[in-house]
Symmetry: none
């Protein structure tokens, strides 16, 4: 297998490519937890970029808690503790994988449309702007966990056109296209399953659902997603860590 190298011709900054390459090495296990990664000097030579670029890439992973620098010793791979994931913006697939559950999706509907006023407002769109609407059942180990309704401004939504919407990981896809996520606001509420919800989730009408509404913002502060997800309450609960 050929080693992935940074490419200065890509629109993605070099330091970010470096970060992604290192992230993959951690995920793939090539760089194991607790192990010291190659020194900055070695990485400079291997990837043929400046020390600043290597350091910026590493710093991005330090910020995410995946690497830890020790002066005089080296940079080591951290064990990803469960708690570090809390409060972090992750997609359904990432979350399921972290729990050791196989993620999946069943596509129910895809449509370009002019959104309701309240959705347009959440996405800061004008009255007649289009959105891409995607409705999916989210699966965990092949069983239905949630119904997901997502709305994307059409410039964002276009990035998903022609992709397999049952396999796609939205957030990963966006970041590959240079749209970087910054933060999200969520509201968690409870509601009863409608007749249709019940049918899709294989539960009884009026069974309790956990509803999550999320607005996600890109690094340039644009809202790029409004998603409303109804989870089966027997298959999912939400964890929060608070500090005083």
């Amino acid at each position: 297998m050929v080693e992935r190298m940074p490419d200065a011709n890509l629109p993605t900054p070099l330091y970010y490519q470096i970060k992604q390459i290192f992230d993959e090495k951690i995920k793939s296990g090539e760089w194991q937890t607790g192990q010291i990664i190659p020194s900055e000097i070695e990485l400079i030579q291997k990837y043929n970029v400046s020390r600043t670029t290597i350091r910026e890439g590493i710093n991005a992973l330090v910020k995410e808690g995946k690497l830890q620098k020790k002066q005089g010793k080296g940079t080591i791979v951290c064990s990803v503790r469960m708690e570090e994931r809390l409060g972090k913006l992750t997609g359904f697939a990432e979350e399921m994988l972290a729990k050791g559950v196989k993620p999946g999706a069943r596509l129910l509907e895809v449509r370009r449309m002019i959104p309701d006023k309240w959705i347009a407002e959440k996405l800061s769109l004008a009255e007649d702007d289009n959105v891409l609407y995607i409705k999916r059942i989210r699966l965990g180990n092949e069983e239905p966990i949630a119904i997901e309704h997502s709305y994307w401004p059409i410039e964002i939504g276009q990035l998903f056109m022609g992709k397999d919407l049952e396999k796609i990981a939205f957030y990963a896809e966006l970041e590959q296209n240079g749209v970087f996520l910054k933060e999200a606001d969520e509201i968690i509420a409870a509601r009863n399953a409608s007749r249709e919800d019940a049918k899709l989730l294989l539960i009884k009408m009026n069974d309790p659902l956990l509803r999550m509404e999320r607005i996600t913002y890109s690094t340039n502060a644009q809202p790029i997603e409004f998603t409303c997800t109804d989870y089966r309450s027997d298959r999912y609960f939400y964890r929060v860590h608070l500090t005083r």
Copy 2:
């Protein structure tokens, strides 16, 4: 007044001195909220250090949420936004007051008891340790919002003895007695109202409830509270702020 300048002879890194100087300017109001601070070029000249050093100083404050950089525009001083409250450990009363709602409570039951095994486990208690159990209806503007079941290790619970349990703010009371809260873990789930829940909350049986289970830890890492609260879903939802 003499302007404070960074000094390369000090053991403190220059970038950190820069950070401290900027932090003081924000605190003192010399740099006002929303205002654009001098550009990097100006700061380089004024403090006679390199761009890297200025940028590292600024980045440290960006990380703390005190400054925000906008490419092409400049770097602005952030207001301490509402979102900073999110992820903070607060009690029901504090939370309601922040929303402009008058908090209250109706006491249903107080009892010293030996807890169920699963509760003892959450509080890290031995089999025969006692807890103080308190059951209350939580009110917002005199209307029922939630049913709250709280369990306190008896040494903690004793601090509440003789207090008016319809008026008390648990967290404030604890801190006045030298028990300081550090953090909490929560689980948010959805369930249907039982017949008794419905009666207490003035809703219908099987209406959806948002259940919050919280374990709170003191600064010496002891669990000091396990509380289970069922909220009317039409009167309450949960907000979360996530970062990537």
